[in-house]
């Protein structure tokens, strides 16, 4: 495959990015002083806003709403052109006409997580009390905080119960947190390539990424907005390291092998001689155009803190006791970031809670990223799970 190498254009992108943080190109729900977001760290965040997108129509009895939860570097633009990058939505393989999540059938909601940088309040937003960017003054947020904010958004939209909550990776963590925190508000849950807790290895990779950002002199202790810089080199390195964890040895070998980039022989330098180097550099540089460095620190931290069992005296099954939600858990054979063993532990806990659960492991060599790619077997399962749930919930047209 042809790999493109491009230089980052941080100044132009930075303007768009910081504009999106407070004035997103999407719907926004604003919550005033009377409706603070009660954070796990003990702080009441107020005021705050949640940026979101919707697709399709809510039906008369408000029973066809699906919440899509995005992963670490995703956002609310799940199935429309991204306002900053101009690229298609990040999950158009799953969401769209004729797809398993079809807007002609479901009312699909996707919101930017609290702490994000695409319009929901986060470290890149303006702190109303100082008039400056929050930066590291922004309180530490958790996965339960993200879900609490989403629940407030649904209250605002007048949606009591969700037909389904769907998400992969960090989005899958939110799915599981939804079922643990609001079991009666979730009819069905599709949790993909995720875990009920972040493993030591995953925390280690996140720490590597954070240290790369913080080691960049342009980070300025998190006050780069005031200094007029952005630690794009540090964030790019963090993204490069993380991106490796989203792939697999087999996928890297298949895509790149040891092939050279636009040259026949090594240059005996530290240029990107290999295609895989060029690819990673491109991944890093394109990421910094659309993502805020501090937001990356906050969201990786939220994932690190996630551990559902810890909130239930170490007994995972206790988190799901008596739950009526229908679960579908999906993992991928070559995913070593959230391996099948993590999904299996979740399934065992759900079984012990007598929850209705399906669990499928999809064979693929594409690693953790597989959940975002074109994997027909996964789509068949997602479609059938939602259709059988739709039949059980009495959604018209859901069983065809």
């Amino acid at each position: 495959m042809k790999v493109v190498t491009s230089k980052p254009s941080p100044t132009i992108a930075a303007d768009e990015r910081s504009h999106e943080a407070d004035h997103p190109t999407s719907l926004v729900a604003r919550f005033g002083a009377e409706q603070p977001l009660k954070l796990d760290c003990g702080i009441d965040l107020s005021p705050f806003q949640i940026a979101y997108q919707t697709y399709g129509e809510l039906n008369a009895n408000r029973s066809n709403a699906i919440l899509v939860c995005h992963a670490l570097t995703g956002d609310q633009h799940v199935a429309n052109i991204h306002p900053v990058t101009g690229k298609p939505g990040w999950w158009e393989t799953l969401v769209g006409p004729g797809r398993p999540l079809d807007p002609s059938r479901y009312f699909i909601i996707c919101s930017n997580v609290i702490g994000g940088c695409m319009g929901s309040t986060g470290p890149a937003s303006i702190n109303p009390t100082t008039g400056k960017v929050w930066g590291l003054d922004f309180p530490i947020i958790t996965i339960p905080d993200m879900v609490r904010a989403q629940a407030m958004l649904l209250d605002r939209l007048g949606i009591e119960t969700l037909f389904a909550v769907v998400g992969g990776s960090m989005g899958g963590m939110q799915v599981l947190q939804w079922t643990a925190a609001y079991p009666t508000r979730v009819f069905s849950a599709l949790a993909i390539a995720c875990s009920t807790r972040h493993s030591a290895q995953n925390i280690a990779f996140h720490e590597l990424g954070r240290q790369a950002v913080m080691a960049d002199p342009d980070w300025h202790g998190g006050r780069y907005a005031e200094e007029g810089t952005h630690p794009h080199r540090g964030l790019a390195v963090a993204r490069m390291a993380a991106h490796i964890t989203y792939l697999s040895d087999a996928a890297l070998h298949r895509k790149f092998g040891r092939r050279m980039q636009d040259r026949e022989l090594p240059t005996f330098s530290f240029d990107a001689d290999f295609q895989v180097e060029s690819y990673l550099r491109y991944q890093g540089s394109s990421f910094v155009e659309r993502f805020d460095s501090n937001s990356y620190l906050y969201l990786t931290r939220a994932m690190d803190y996630f551990d559902i069992a810890a909130d239930h005296h170490g007994v995972l099954a206790a988190a799901f006791r008596g739950i009526q939600t229908r679960f579908c858990v999906v993992s991928f054979t070559s995913d070593w970031l959230f391996p099948t063993s993590e999904s299996r532990a979740l399934v065992h806990a759900l079984n012990a809670s007598s929850a209705r659960v399906s669990f499928a492991e999809i064979e693929t060599d594409r690693g953790h990223d597989a959940f975002l790619l074109d994997v027909p077997e996964f789509f068949d399962i997602a479609r059938a799970f939602l259709q059988s749930g739709g039949t059980a919930r009495g959604l018209t047209g859901a069983g065809d």
Partner: protein, 222 residues
């Protein structure tokens, strides 16, 4: 050997035959009360679960093969990938009204432990298995001098998943040994038809191609 041979619940049996359900599946489904909660261990591609769900039974499944699981989930069934030998321990006591082990017992590594787990997880268990005492199998070994193969057991000895074959007589002895009560027992002939209820045990063991047993826990330990 002591057991009660009850009248089979064959109401609706003949009427449902044209829908191409397997005879042993119809027999098993007939043993399950409506509205109950069932775990099908080794559910294959989910045919029995679909039959059960069509009768208003809350069915769940475990299947070893990934392809089987994914086909079940793609049918909307609640099936998880797992192994009867290693994963049943993860289920709590009394989680189900019935646990079904259909044509799978002979493929487990620890049939006795599996059987004990079935009756721990479920208030009742339904177990069906190919009878290795069936006359055709005996004849192949006696006259042919080779490991038996039939249409229902086509695998050669070197690639068969069936590592713990038993006869109906063996199974009844195991049930006695681990203090399991047989509520109902049926032997099916080569065509899936139940043998005469009045037939003696040795007849079942000789002419039954498979055995289907409804089991429950005995009231008190020996």
């Amino acid at each position: 050997m002591t057991m009660q041979q009850e009248v089979l619940p064959l109401g609706g049996f003949a009427a449902e035959r044209p829908r191409n359900y397997r005879a042993d599946h119809l027999l098993v489904a007939g043993m399950v009360e409506r509205g109950s909660k069932v775990l099908d261990v080794g559910c294959g591609e989910g045919d029995l679960l679909q039959l059960l769900e069509s009768r208003g039974i809350d069915g769940r499944g475990i299947e070893l093969s990934r392809e089987g699981v994914n086909r079940c989930v793609a049918k909307g069934l609640a099936v998880v990938q797992g192994d009867a030998d290693t994963d049943l321990v993860n289920y709590p006591d009394d989680a189900f009204d019935y646990v079904i082990l259909s044509q799978t017992l002979q493929a487990t590594r620890q049939p006795k432990t599996v059987l004990e787990n079935l009756l721990r997880i479920g208030r009742r268990a339904i177990v069906s298995f190919p009878n290795f005492g069936f006359w055709r199998l005996r004849l192949q070994l006696l006259i042919g001098g080779h490991m038996p193969r039939t249409d229902n057991l086509p695998a050669t000895w070197y690639d068969t998943p069936n590592i713990h074959f038993c006869t109906i007589k063996d199974f009844v002895q195991l049930c006695d040994e681990i203090n399991v009560k047989m509520e109902r027992a049926v032997a099916l002939d080569l065509y899936g038809r139940p043998l005469r209820l009045t037939a003696p045990w040795w007849f079942w063991n000789m002419f039954g191609e498979q055995g289907v047993f409804l089991l429950s826990r005995a009231e008190k330990a020996k």
